[in-house]
């Protein structure tokens, strides 16, 4: 139990970081209504770009921005495969993800992982978030606002604020309409190909940003760091929805729920690790099971336990 409590700040920090990725997944899965599998690749792209630029003494904000930009490009690739080449969205994502495996290795100088040497004081001082700061703050060696929960929390709030603003604009509304009803969107003069590409870009930009934050936090990037990211993202989206949908109605709060969903996910995983002596190899299986269960529950509930209320209103028709 004690080890679980001790691991809690780390789990929450990680959850917050993955929460930003999950918000990216929310944009494609919930708003655009496409399952984008680029995520598993673009998450690592963000991490790889960040670590390489950091090593080249590029300032942290610039490196984070570059990681975001790399994510935009990954989304652009998937978007063009889908709209311009007419490949189904799922397959487009898989193709980009596969291609990114090589790209990510190339970014990391053909190595499977690259790390930031945090034993070097100069490096440690440049970092914005790090696993080490968790204990530094606890020991009083660092002010509380350097705690990863605070720093990533601020990032999360900034991301939510910008998205809240964006989806309230004409362009953002057009993107939502595209996901809600493509026919209607086109009839209103919206080029749904453009909005789809844009949505995929923003989504993967956030995913890569999240990857950059994680590689900074754990002080390394690894070619397989994004494996299963889409599942974690979906888990966060769904857990957030199941737990908070009655409480949160506003769009910004829905995004916050996604972030909370990621935190819950990580705390649960941490609990499983700390409180049982399970082999951590089973974590992926547990993750997959959790998501499968959370996806199943609303489906069965909708089928058997509620009145047949349709999404539209055929009632009066």
């Amino acid at each position: 139990m004690g080890s679980f409590i001790g691991a809690l700040p780390g789990a929450v920090s990680q959850g917050l970081i993955w929460g930003i990725m999950a918000i990216g997944v929310y944009i494609t899965y919930k708003i655009l209504d496409v399952a984008d599998l680029t995520v598993d690749g673009s998450f690592c792209t963000g991490g790889a770009v960040f670590v390489m630029l950091f090593a080249a003494q590029v300032p942290v904000p610039v490196a984070l921005l570059a990681a975001f930009g790399a994510g935009l490009l990954a989304g652009l690739a998937t978007g063009l495969l889908h709209t311009f080449c007419g490949i189904p969205a799922i397959l487009s994502g898989i193709l980009t993800q596969l291609g990114l495996w090589s790209v990510n290795l190339a970014i990391m100088g053909m190595k499977a992982n690259v790390s930031i040497n945090v034993n070097d004081e100069a490096n440690l001082n440049r970092l914005w978030v790090s696993l080490r700061f968790v204990s530094s703050v606890a020991d009083g060696k660092m002010p509380f606002y350097r705690h990863p929960i605070v720093v990533v929390g601020v990032f999360t709030i900034a991301v939510i604020a910008v998205l809240y603003w964006f989806f309230g604009t004409e362009l953002g509304s057009a993107l939502r309409a595209t996901g809600a009803n493509g026919n209607m969107a086109r009839a209103q003069g919206i080029n749904t190909n453009v909005t789809k590409v844009l949505g995929l870009m923003i989504s993967n930009g956030l995913v890569a940003l999240s990857g950059a934050l994680l590689s900074q936090y754990q002080s390394f990037a690894d070619a397989s760091m994004g494996r299963g990211a889409i599942v974690i993202g979906l888990a966060a989206v769904i857990i957030g929805e199941v737990v908070f949908s009655r409480l949160f109605r506003n769009f910004a709060l829905n995004l916050l729920a996604v972030s909370f969903g990621a935190i819950i996910y990580y705390v649960v995983i941490q609990a499983v690790i700390s409180l049982s002596d399970i082999n951590t190899n089973y974590l992926k299986l547990i993750s997959a099971a959790i998501v499968a269960i959370f996806l199943t529950v609303p489906y069965w509930k909708g089928r058997f336990f509620s009145k047949p209320v349709k999404r539209g209103g055929a009632a009066n028709a």
Binding site: E170, M184, I190, A317
Partner: protein, 264 residues
């Protein structure tokens, strides 16, 4: 206003499902014409409207709206000129968005989408006023998600959206077919009022011959991908359902009119 010249459309060419849905259709609409379109199932009515709206490009022939050749323009670019209500009440609105958000999207039809606010504050008052005209009680439910509305309310809303920004051409595809008779009458009534008020050039498909006769200044009948009947002016005013059935028989050389055309 609308100039359709000799258009052809074949679906799934070269396969067992090959279907020629339009065979040389030409149609010219003057500014302010209100044309009703009738014809049996599969006659090509929806296909004609889809061709004009740009759901896909036609195989042959040309289409121009208000003098602009739109034959090769994609759907979203033609939207600037066209207001549309679909046969399916689910098609014309975004269910997960609010009534006012749907209206705001329609208010910007054919314009570039910028980073300005999706709905300006002063728009809301305007929408409230416009929704009052529909007389469905929607004016107090601006922030309701459209998915919660009935089919009739959604069709009426779609109609309002299609005409919010005056379209050069209004396309109505059996927009009351999925509604109960009372709601259908209400929506049709609203249609008549809006079309008259703004003098809209309109193409309205209906399965109801009486409606086709009562509304509009011109009636066309389609059969097997062609326009087989075109009645306007005084002739249209004097028209009865019996006349129509007889004329259909003459035009197509068959007496299957009773089976093929649903009587209203």
């Amino acid at each position: 206003m609308l100039d359709v010249k000799n258009i052809y459309k074949t679906f799934n060419p070269g396969t067992v499902n090959e279907k020629t849905a339009l065979r040389g259709v030409s149609l010219h609409l003057e500014d302010g014409d209100f044309v009703t379109v009738i014809g049996g199932n599969g006659a090509g009515k929806s296909t004609l409207l889809n061709a004009v709206a740009g759901t896909w490009l036609v195989d042959e022939g040309s289409i121009s709206i208000g003098g602009v050749d739109v034959t090769h323009l994609p759907e979203h670019k033609r939207a600037k000129y066209i207001g549309r209500v679909f046969q399916d009440p689910m098609m014309g609105t975004a269910a997960t968005m609010q009534i006012e958000e749907n209206l705001a999207l329609a208010a910007r039809r054919g314009k570039g989408r910028t980073l300005r606010r999706g709905i300006a504050r002063e728009e809301r008052e305007n929408y409230r006023e416009l929704l009052k005209i529909l007389d469905l009680g929607l004016e107090d439910r601006l922030t309701t998600k459209v998915g919660l509305l009935s089919g009739g309310q959604r069709q009426a809303l779609t109609l309002l959206m299609a005409t919010l920004q005056r379209p050069d051409l209004l396309l109505l595809d059996e927009h009351t077919a999925a509604l109960d008779p009372k709601t259908a009458a209400k929506v049709l009534d609203a249609t008549e009022r809006i079309v008259n008020k703004d003098k809209l050039t309109t193409l309205m498909i209906t399965h109801n011959m009486k409606d086709a006769i009562i509304h509009g200044n011109r009636l066309i009948m389609m059969y097997d991908g062609q326009i087989v009947l075109d009645i306007s002016g005084e002739d249209k005013k004097k028209l009865t359902v019996e006349d129509l059935l007889a004329k259909f028989g003459q035009a197509t050389g068959s007496d299957e009119a009773d089976d093929k055309l649903l009587l209203g």
